[in-house]
């Protein structure tokens, strides 16, 4: 039994959840061919940084969310910033490794969350499906992480830097186990779906198409290229843009149910005014880049080269300013903290089982 449900609507879902991963992959391959490596930083600046803004808009901009999560929204950032500042000085490799792993977990949970929304919208799947879906995402993503040369090269290097030497035999055993578990689990998942159908629980084909599209992007980018640029751009485009789309839709629907807000910008965001949202997100990205003393060249995908702003101006007695001085540590802490706070907030504000959240879906 098939029951189709959409997150946005038929046309928009096809664009943002099915076609986007393919377009993102093509864009990433194009970047690899025609743009320098700086393009990755530009995509990060124009897509990923504003998608953090989307989290702030929801958490601090919607009064209901602020009231519900107030303590966590205050304590969380303080704890995270303190830990990152300390970690950068005491155990930097461990800190950055855990942030990278949390980034992966965050990506898994976002795709899982969209899958849950599909089932919620279509009233499909059995009561056990959420757990089966979560395990499916973890196993598929972990399998890529443990097997794709792009990732193996990275995590092996980090382990060796930490004096954790892994033999080639150990790597091969882990990879064999990973493929075996993945194959077995796909079989188990198929049986779960068939069993659910027999028991009268429908399936939403959009959810499965979405999962296939997402993993096609990840697996194709991780296996068929040795370039971090391709994976990074493809992943950031998919993750960031889908998140933006979801936040705009969520705020609009929540506003329909509970129209509140006195501040003009927040009112516009809650009305789902896409133009205002995009403008606000871009302004946020520009401020973020300037605040962290990021290179101006990153605005232009490596195509626009600005004059270096750190040159000395001897006529005015201004010496060259090495940006790695003390402020660099502070900027690094802000960069990492912002990303981790976003991961943390998203871990509790997007629960599909939460009735309040359901109103926005």
């Amino acid at each position: 039994m098939i029951r189709t449900g959409y997150i946005l609507n038929r046309r928009d879902d096809q664009i943002w959840f099915l076609a986007l991963p393919l377009v993102a992959l093509a864009a990433a391959l194009g970047s690899q061919a025609w743009l320098p490596y700086v393009a990755l930083a530009s995509v990060n600046l124009w897509i990923t940084v504003p998608h953090h803004f989307a989290t702030w808009a929801r958490t601090y901009g919607i009064s209901e969310d602020w009231r519900r999560f107030k303590e966590r929204l205050i304590v969380g950032p303080l704890v995270i910033f303190a830990v990152i500042l300390t970690g950068l000085q005491v155990a930097p490799i461990s800190l950055l490794l855990i942030i990278a792993l949390w980034d992966s977990q965050h990506s898994i949970m976002q795709q899982h969350g969209f899958g849950r929304i599909y089932d919620f919208k279509a009233d499909s799947g059995s009561p056990r499906t959420p757990r089966f879906d979560l395990a499916l995402h973890w196993i598929l993503y972990s399998n890529m992480f443990l097997n794709a040369p792009l990732f193996v090269t990275m995590w092996l290097r980090e382990l060796y830097r930490l004096n954790l030497l892994v033999s080639i035999e150990a790597v091969r055993i882990v990879q064999t186990i990973s493929w075996t578990v993945t194959a077995l689990y796909l079989l188990i998942y198929l049986l779960h779906v068939v069993r659910g159908l027999k028991q009268g629980y429908p399936i939403n084909p959009m959810k499965y198409l979405f999962i296939v599209a997402s993993y096609f992007l990840w697996y194709a980018a991780a296996w068929n290229t040795a370039s971090i640029l391709v994976f990074g751009i493809a992943h950031r485009l998919m993750h960031g843009l889908q998140y933006h789309v979801m936040v705009v839709s969520y705020m609009k629907r929540k506003n329909r149910n509970q129209p509140t807000g006195s501040f003009w910008l927040l009112r516009q965001l809650r009305r789902g005014n896409v133009t205002v949202y995009v403008m606000a997100a871009l302004v946020y990205a520009i401020f973020f880049q300037l605040l962290t003393l990021g290179p101006l060249d990153e605005f232009g995908f490596g195509l626009l080269v600005f004059v270096d702003q750190y040159q000395a101006i001897p006529e005015h007695g201004i010496s060259a300013m090495p940006h790695w001085l003390g402020y660099h540590m502070f900027a690094e802490a802000i960069l990492s903290s912002v990303a981790v706070i976003h991961y943390y907030f998203d871990s509790f504000i997007w629960k599909v089982r939460d009735q309040s959240v359901q109103e926005g879906l």
Partner: protein
């Protein structure tokens, strides 16, 4: 209280626990707080850096270079590490250059080390000016903000009396994106700290020749 923390901050607790466990290992294994060559610094990075080099490519039996080369012999990062292994294992830079060139030919741009070494190889192998410029462009266009390495230009000799470094410094002073990093008298190599994506190698070389350096 514990229940409250667990309910609201569980994922943070997991993260902190993971950082704490791995961090303790990192601090003890890499001996950050034991006396190093530079005890005035907080962290003993000397030991960590040395250990990293051994683990990456210097230990021929157990380095990550060996593991990656067996797993993915065609992977550009593995090929590059193989080059480092050859270079520091006694083969020298000239023997390693073919690995660096192979790694870069794959088109990857994420590793500045790889792009830089490919440019160095072009210079020491006396590649035509166009090829060297191409290699430098690839390096600088992908990592325009990096000051990790200095562009290396080699010469046959220096024909004036006086300190070659002083002459090189003076010759480069009017170039906005370049300044002298150091001069290596053994290899007659001028290391130039460059900034930005655009570096005109022929122009830099011409200025140094005018200052008294003799082309090879």
């Amino acid at each position: 209280m514990i229940r409250h923390v667990w309910t609201n901050y569980r994922i943070l607790v997991y993260g902190l626990a993971a950082i704490a466990l791995l961090g303790i290992h990192e601090i003890t294994a890499l001996r950050y707080f034991s006396a190093g060559i530079h005890p005035q610094t907080l962290r003993n990075t000397d030991y960590a850096d040395k250990l990293q080099r051994i683990h990456l490519y210097q230990d021929r039996e157990r380095s990550v270079a060996r593991v990656l080369n067996q797993l993915y012999p065609q992977d550009p990062d593995a090929v590059f590490l193989r080059g480092l292994e050859v270079e520091y294992g006694g083969g020298g830079l000239t023997s390693a250059c073919r690995f660096y060139a192979r790694a870069v030919a794959s088109g990857v741009m994420h590793s500045e080390d790889m792009l830089y070494m490919a440019a160095v190889c072009q210079e020491i192998n006396r590649a035509p000016a166009g090829e060297l410029q191409q290699a430098v462009d690839r390096w600088r266009r992908s990592h325009p903000h990096s000051e990790k390495y200095g562009l290396q230009l080699r010469f046959a000799s220096f024909q004036r009396s006086g300190d070659p470094a002083r002459f090189a410094d003076a010759a480069l002073r009017s170039v906005p994106y370049a300044r002298l990093q150091r001069f290596d008298a053994v290899n007659m190599a001028v290391f130039i700290q460059v900034k930005g994506a655009t570096v005109n190698v022929a122009d830099l070389r011409a200025r140094l020749v005018q200052a008294g350096f003799v082309p090879r």
